[in-house]
Structure formats: C-alpha cells, structure tokens
Amino acid sequence: MTDKLGDNRSEEIFEDFKGEYTREQAVVEANRCLYCADAPCVQACPTHIEIPQFIRKIATGNVKGSARTIFESNILGMSCARVCPVEVLCAGDCVYNHMGMPPIQIGKLQRFSTDHAFDAGWRFFEAGPDSGKSVGLIGAGPASLACAHELRREGHSVTIYEKRAEVGGLNTTGVAPYKMKADRSVEEAEWVLGIGGVEVKTGVTIGQDVTFEALENSHDALFLGAGLGADTAMRIPGEQLEGVHGAVAWIEKMKLAKVPASARTCVVVGGGNTAIDAVREAGGLGIRRVVMVYRGAQEKMSGYRHEWRAAQVEGAEAQWHALPVAFEGDGKVERVRCVKLDDAKKPIPGSEFVIDAELVLIAIGQSKLGEMLATLQGVELDRGRIVADEHGRTGRKGLFAGGDCKNGGKEVVNAAAEGKAAARAIHDYLMGGTNA
C-alpha cells in the first residue's frame, strides 16, 4: 500500500524534531530509569504500557522483549512513540520531575524498541481460531486498527471500510511530518494488519457507497472509528480566495502530495494543536513569516505549551486576542484584516489591523461526523460526538465507537486505547456476554 503514496511529497523535506537514539544512547537513558513501582508514567499512559519494564529490557539488551511489552499494551506503539505528547503524558509524570531532573525520554526509548521491531520484521501476535463472528469497522485510523488487531487475536473476522485510498487515518494524513511521515504510518497499518484475516475496503464512504443498515446486516457488530469531518469554516468575506485553506485539508495535501511553497507570508487562525502544527509546518516549508492569530490569551490556548515554545524557537509570531474579519486580495489572498478582542471576546472598536498573508490556514476545529448517525435508534450525540461508555458501547445494540468521533479529537494514543477497549467489549458481546 505504501506505493500508493506519491513521490516528491511536500512533507519529505522535514527532518525528525526528536532524533532517534543510537543503541548506546538508548542504553544510557534506559539505565537512568528508576524502575518505579506502580509507576506514574504507566498511569499517565492511556494504553498503560508497562514503561519501566520495557525500559529495563532495553538496558539489558532484550530489545525484542521490550518491543513485545510495548505492543502488548498498544499495537500502535511505534507511531505513538513519535507522535505522543509525552511532555503532558508519561514523561510529564516521571518522578524525576520532582527531583528537578529531566524526565526519562520515554518516547525516544519507545521509538528505539519499536523501530527495531519494524526494521527486524518482528511480529508478536497471531490471530485466534476462527470464531465465526464478523465485525465491520468504519474508518481505518488508529482506533479501528487497534480494534481490528485485538478482534483478530480473538479470531473474529474483520472488515474495515475506509473512505480514503490510504489507511492509517490521521496518522497518515495529519501528523506533523517532523514527528512522523505518511509512509511510516501506512507501513505501521500494514504491519498491524499483517496479523491476517482483515479485509480492507478503501474508497468506501458509508451512507454513499453503502448504507449503514447494510453494514449492520452483514456483520455481527460494528465499530465506528470514523474520526472527525472537514475543517470548520470562518464564514467571513474572502474565504473563497485562492490561498485560503482549512488547516487539516492543507496538512493532508502537504503530507500526501505537494502544496505550493511560493508564499512568503502565512497566517494561521486558531490556538489549538492543529494550529501550532500548521504554523510549524508552514515555517518548515520555507515561508519566512508565519503569524498565528488566536482570539484568546496565550494562556488560554488549547495547544500544548511545549509545542508553542518549539514554534517560537522556530521563529513563529502570534497575535493574541485577535480575530480575522476578512481575507483580502485580488483572486488570491494577500492580507488578513483582523480586529482586536477584549476580555469578553468582543471586538474593540477602531482596533482593526492588517497582516500580509499569501497563505491562510484556518484551524478553528473540525465538524463532527455524528450527524449522519443521529437518526439511528439508540445512538446519542453530544455536540456531534458519539456518546459511548469507557468500553466504547453506544446506546445501539451491536454498535461500538472509539477515537476522535467519540472523544471529540484527542491523541493517537487515546484512539488506540479506545479501539482496544472496544474490541474487548465487542468480544464479550459476540461471545454472549454483556450487551451493548
């Protein structure tokens, strides 16, 4: 499937922000780990990887065992090693922080072991004996991949329906290329699906190419891991100008194909992690001036501090308490007209200003996909999110959900955890245990 990705993709010029460890570096760092009991890092990981154990195995030279420990908890451990915001998860809770010392570089150590596993072609899990049950999974992103793998270990047959040509979901189309590139995500998806017995139908949109009811009829259970929808539009004048893009769509194009790189100035609208990613990516593509425009205060932005710090180091600028009111230009966008906002987010009269921008990326959120399911009996929505319990059980019999469509947009590691948890619940359901 990797060959489906084009050559000469824009993302290819990016280098890893956090480099990979040599064996010596990994062993030195692994030996620094205190090997805590009931370790806080494990509790902070949504997939509860036994971090001290996998790190100890690196230190002893048991890299295969280390990788097994990681994948046992999280089959997407390779991509999570690269894309997890460890600063606010495992490493953020490392006890070394309380000693005023740098936390263990858990992400880099996990990358060391999992890259090793990929490079060596190690596989750790086999499909279970055929259960005679069939599960349909909607979406081929991290939640579905984790779910599919766990279901195959129990011997259930699995079909994945994906609207895109590529598998891997946001791991393929959305992860910042200085963390992971699309080909590595596709490679991971293929490795996960290598457990065998998973049929992947790409280019299939539910409700368009096949109805939801038809899927329900052809499977014993369904898992919804469809992610989020299109970028939210600002609905202001000039949004149709050339050079104005939804950030998620632009990032996808940058990763899977080529985006024009002639712009000298760029404005990114928003203050979340997609906005910061877009800022760093635009800068990385060589755009000299990149300005993030956020309507609130810096402290209020939802993007991670460590990410924004990195963006600043790379030269990004910001306008806080500011809101675009129009995109201006002659066919192509040339500038963004903004207004300053007060603490109540009300425009301040006479505060208008203009920022030159030949590229505008709008990162103010994505639509939720739930609307299409709202008509289904038993399915409950909360602001567009599918309501499901911690085991992914929705209110509709046989329908389970996980990942962004359930949690509203979190990390890959959350999707992996939710996909796996749902698989356990689906297994119970199929084997006559608890109902959905």
Partner: protein, 424 residues
C-alpha cells in the same frame, strides 16, 4: 593543613596513595607520570622470571550501566627483562627520592629470592612486597597464591626474604582462604614488617553466551582470573579489619581492594590500613583520580579534626564485634520525609517483596508518599538503600523502654529481650 605523611612498616611516602603492583605500575615511565599526578608511592609490577602473556587478559562486570563495577585479569607478572626493570627502578628512585618505590617479587628458589632482593635493593627499592597472592597462572607453577594459601611455606619464604633484605618486607596475602588471620600470623612469624591485602579473588568474570566460552576469551578457552575493583571492597575491608583487630597480629597493613575514591580510602584507614594501594580505578580512569583521593581525604581529616593519619588509622576497629554482642533491644524504624519523596514506590516494592511488607501506598490516590507501618517495621534499612533521594528515608531510633541486651547477655544472664517484630 592535615599531614598525609605515610609510614607503613618503615616504608614512607608523602601520602598514603600507592599504585598497586599491576599494569599501571609496569614501567618507570608510567610510575614517574603517576608520581607527577600526585601518587605517593608505587609497588612495581611483580618481578620474577619474565613470562609470556596471553591475549586477551581482562574482563569486567557491568552493573546497570556502570562499566567495570568489578574487574578481573589473567595477566601474569612482568614480561619485561629484569635488567630494564632494575634500570628503571634506579632512574625513578633517583628522580623521586621522597616517594615510595616498593618492588614486588615472585620467584621460586631461595637463591632466586636472594638474587632479586639484592638487585632490588641495589636499584634503590624502599621496600619489598612478596607476591604470595596471584590466583591464576603463577600458582600453577607453585608460586603466588600457592604460597599464600600455605602458612608454613609463607612463613619460610618470608623468613628468607627478611634475612636477605635490608629494607622493610611486606607480604601480600591472598584472599582465597577461609580465614585470613592464620596467614597474616604466618607472615609475622616469618619476620615480615607488614602485610598487603587483599590480592585478587579467584573468579570467572563471565561467559560469552553466544560462544559458550568463559571470558576473557583466549581462542576457544579461558581460565579463572583474579577479581578486583569496586565490587571486592567489602571483602577486602573485612579481611583488613580481621587482621587489624587480631591482638596477636599487630603489624602495619597496606590496604588493597576496590579503593576508588577518597571515601573508600577513609574506610580502609579507619579499619586499620596505614597505606592504600590502588589499581583498578587507575586502569579504568587513569592516574588523575588521585587528585580527588588526596583532597577528599584532606577535607575529611579537617572536618573530623585529624592532623595526622595515625590519629585515624584503625579508629573504627573497636566497633567491629561479634553478632552475639549486638544489642537486640536497639530498635529503629524507617521514616519518610514527605517533602523529599518523589513517589517512585521503590521502597514499597522492595519492602513488599524483599522485606517485611510494612510500607504501603496510600489508597486514596491523593499522594504517592507511602505510609510506613511502624508496628511492623523491623528497621532493616532496605527502603533507605533503594530510595533514590538522599536523606529522604532515615532510620530513627525508637525508645521501646527495654534496657540494652545482647544475645550473649540474654543467654548467660537472662536479660529480657523486646518482643520480636515482623515475625508472625
């Protein structure tokens, strides 16, 4: 300014730090560089009939990322000609008259001992060290530990050396014996002016697990070597102290065995060493380590009010007693400093799996500072040992109302013992 002047059995040096007889003391050029770096003395790599060595020769024990926590070798005595060695001893002594140059010797016959002793003294040796210790190679030829393990042979050869020598004679003892004391006493009966200990411990440093061959590997074979380095320090301390506390012994001791820094040096001095010999740490880190040894020792002496080494030598010996004299009513419990605790729970798991199950996590999840059940804590120290934070866990004495009582006193005088803890 504390005075580090050292006198070990009549061999004097500006400080107690001597290179042990080993690869770092193989040649005049090396020893002269060591003296320039600050070493007070050197025991020349053992002279005898020059041998042929194998390759490879060294192996190491690595512990959780620390390379060379233990070390071993299968190298033999000098492989350089005696003429060159004696010429270099002469040159070194001429250039460094105040430093101690001790010549280590290992030969077979009485005549050979006589010849080499004469030539050593003629070259300017300040003292001799009789190598009765090497546990590999030379012992197969009836020398080294083959001598040191046999008190009568030890005594006899020592008496030859003392007879032939006009300079002090130290006997280097092997630790490959069940009790060091008879061997020290044999050297004393032979007339030795002092002893050096420990030599290396008979060992297999490891196995090449892919080739199924011992390390260090010589083609498809290997042999036992001599173990040394930081890992052997506790064994060395015990043997040094066992002789130092022996009333019938009373000779000066040159302490050897895992001395890697000034703290180790202080421990050896407090247990009765009057000079200190170092090899492995120099092999791993170079002569420059002596700088920290010297100023660390000086600062320790200043802090503790010692002006001369003899004021501190053996100062901890009176605390070395028999188990039967320990106060069974002395009670300590562990205390955790909540402000220092980082919540790693290493004490929890260590106590739970390796001790008396008396340190518990707090269930409410609000804090990761564990709780110690003092009614169950036996005061074993394990939690304090595994804690990564300095002074976070301390062992605090508890007043249990019982007067001191040792096992011996309990048995002979019926003194009451406190109720046992953690014994249910």
């Amino acid at each position: 300014m504390p005075d580090l002047f050292t006198n070990c059995g009549g061999i004097t040096s500006p400080n107690p730090f001597w290179l042990a007889s080993a690869p770092p003391a193989n040649s005049g050029a090396q020893i002269q560089r060591a003296f320039d770096a600050g070493w007070g003395g050197a025991v020349w790599k053992t002279l005898g009939q020059p041998i042929q060595n194998v390759s490879s020769r060294f192996g190491a024990t690595n512990v959780r990322g620390v390379q060379g926590a233990g070390f071993n070798n299968i190298e033999l005595i000098t492989d350089r000609s005696l003429e060159i060695n004696f010429a270099e001893i002469y040159d070194t002594k001429k250039k460094y008259p105040k430093h101690a140059v001790v010549v280590s010797l290992m030969v077979e016959t009485k005549q050979e001992w006589k010849d080499l002793i004469k030539r050593s003294i003629d070259a300017g040796a300040d003292g001799l060290e009789l190598n009765f210790g090497c546990p590999h190679g030379m012992c197969e030829r009836g020398m080294g530990s083959a001598v040191g393990q046999e008190p009568r042979v030890n005594q006899e050869i020592t008496s030859w050396a003392v007879e032939f020598s006009s300079v002090p004679v130290l006997v280097k003892l092997t630790p490959n014996v069940s009790d060091i004391v008879p061997h020290g006493l044999a050297a004393k009966r032979g007339g030795a002016h002092g002893v050096s200990l420990i030599n290396t411990i008979k060992s297999i440093i490891g196995v090449d697990i892919d080739r199924y061959v011992l390390e260090p590997r010589v083609a498809q074979l290997s042999t036992n070597g001599g173990y040394c380095g930081s890992a052997v320090k506790p064994i060395a301390l015990h043997m040094v102290a066992a002789l130092a506390r022996e009333p019938k012994f009373g000779l000066p001791i040159s302490g050897i065995g895992g001395i890697s820094n000034w703290r180790d040096a202080v421990e050896f001095l407090l247990l009765g060493s009057s000079s200190l010999q170092v090899c492995t740490e120099v092999m791993l880190r170079g002569y420059r380590v002596v700088e920290d040894m010297i100023d660390g020792l000086e600062e320790y002496m200043r802090t503790h009010g010692f002006e001369r080494l003899d004021q501190m030598i053996g100062k901890a010996i009176p605390s070395f007693s028999e188990w039967g004299n320990l106060d069974l009513n002395y009670e300590t419990v562990a205390k955790i400093d909540a402000d220092k605790c980082i919540g790693c729970h290493l004490c929890v798991v260590a106590c739970h799996d390796g001790a008396h199950q008396c340190i518990h996590p707090v269930k409410d999840g609000k804090t990761r500072v564990p709780v110690i059940d003092e009614s169950e804590c036996v005061g074993c120290n394990l939690c304090k040992i595994v804690c990564p934070v300095d002074d976070c866990i301390t062992m605090v004495q508890v007043d249990n109302g019982f007067a001191p009582s040792t096992w011996n006193e309990h048995v002979t005088q019926g003194k009451p013992l406190r109720p046992k803890k953690g014994a249910h």
